[in-house]
Amino acid sequence: MIVENTQTQMRKGILEYCILSIIAKGETYASDIIAELKKAQLLVVEGTLYPLLTRLKNNGLLTYNWVESTSGPPRKYYILSDEGRNVLEQLDKTWEELAFAVQTAIGDRK
């Protein structure tokens, strides 16, 4: 139970960091984000992404533009807001620190 909880917490934090990183590359459509995350083996199903995106958007980290589509309803293309950029920069720093800490911590063990 504790293991699962820790995994979930770690995964959750990293997932948000990754999503922000992907969107930081430019206007991104949800399925593109999914494709990248699948490649990185962080996310398996598309459905879980939408709540995350909505939450990030509601927290002011993301905005989106409606773009007409030829193959269906209009698409939401997400971009980072200014606040999102600030958060991402902080997260970059945090990640470097964390990566260092983890490397240091587990380096001795291996």
Binding site: E4, L43, V45, G47, S69
Partner: protein, 548 residues
Amino acid sequence: MNKTIIININGIVFHIEEDAYEILKNYMTDVKRHFSNSADSLEITTDIENRIAEMFSETLTRDNKQVIVEQDVNSIIEQMGTVSDFEHAEDDSNADANPLNYATATRRLFRDPDDHLLGGVCAGVGNYFDIDTVWIRLAFAIAIAAGGTGLFLYIILWIVVPKAVTRSDRMAMKGEKQNLQGFKKNFEDEMSSFKQNVSNFGQEARPFVYKARDFTGDFFHHLGMFIRGTGKVFIKIFGVVVLLAGLVALVALIVTLVAFVGFGSSRHNDLFPFEIVTSAHATNFYLCAFIVAFVPVLSIMLMTLKGIFNVGTIGKSTGTVFLVVWLCSLGMLIFYGVKIAENFRESARFTQTVNIKPTKNNTYYLKLNDIKYFSHDDSVRLDIKDHFKNMIVIDDDYNGFNNGRRSVTIKVEKSDVKAPELEESYSAKGGNYDDALFNARNTSYVFAQQDSVLKFDYTLRKRPNLPWHDESITLTLRVPLNTKVVIDQKLDNYLENISLYDCRVANKQDSAPSSIFVMTENGLRCKVDTLVTAKKDSIKVDSAAAAQ
């Protein structure tokens, strides 16, 4: 060949096979339910729907087809992920963010609409504390019985505690962990409960007025059900009462029949109306009367059994037999009734006159004979002469109750001749004049004069064990003008056209044992004493007469 359904996702129309539609529908229902507790549920589900629409379009274009099939839907669901995948990914992230998420084992207090007597309050409380509802009900019943606080509390709870409407409410009420996969109900049902969930915020904060309105609606709904329930109980009780009454009536009827037919009716023939029945037809008459009464009582009992307790049946043939038997008995009863009535068709009367010895002071005392009259047989049997020598046997029956009907009437009239006389007029009824006359002759009346005292018997005598033929006697006492007649109070019931009561009132003597009358030109008149001395005289005379 498959049936296709046209669906519309955010303005884009798709043709989808029925099976595929069912899967998609269930999937979307699950998804909506899953996100229903989230504040952003609408946005999230719209995103998902849009994405599904897009994937449908891509699939149709890629495969160059027009209809979405089951396989397409399955692959899209696989890509989008099932609700369990969502749960796994989010896990506890939503739980603390969402106060309305019931997906925990905590119980919530609801009124239970599935297990209620009135408002489901007791069942709800029982569910909340995980106690058998019976104990809660018992506690409330005791609290209501002891001062009525329970009733007050119940009504308050009824108003305040919401009713468990949706399935999730019920699960939360019973503390069941919600399993999103468990929701496999039809779309409409799910949608309605989904809406309920969304509007739960509003429901929680509803003003008291609306709750009270709901409460009154609920109240009358439950009251109706309660009355319907208790109504059934009352009907059952009524049925039991009817059955018991019927049973008692049947037993009484059978006992009566046995008494009359089995042991003979001679013992009862003094009592009206049995005295009418001549012994020749008695058995048949009683049997018919019995059946006429028995069949309807039995039918009512059987119908009660069938109608209320749904036990046993009256078959068509049984019913017909009952009806025929009843009609036959009724016919025979009427036949014998007419036969018996024929015995009263003719009446006969004869008169004889008894001379009364005149007295010196021209005063007569009319008294009731309270000496027991014995027939010759009785006299011999009881050996009256030896055993009751110089004694008087008093007849307790002189009030006339034993005969039931008054057969003696006494009148006092003015005589044309100087000497007083008593006219005895006997009458009786019979099938023809001869019979009637014979019946009248068959009676006797005991009248005795002892100086100035005239003693009248209370009844007409007839031989025992003879049926009643409406025998009667009219006694007319004819006295000359200015004759004083003192009438005993005990004769009151037998007098015609003479009111002892009025005379007593006129003399202001409420408890006088007798009243004094005087024969005038216009008939017998009450003698009203105006002087106290005169009154004293009359009393003296009375007591002197009584001494005799």
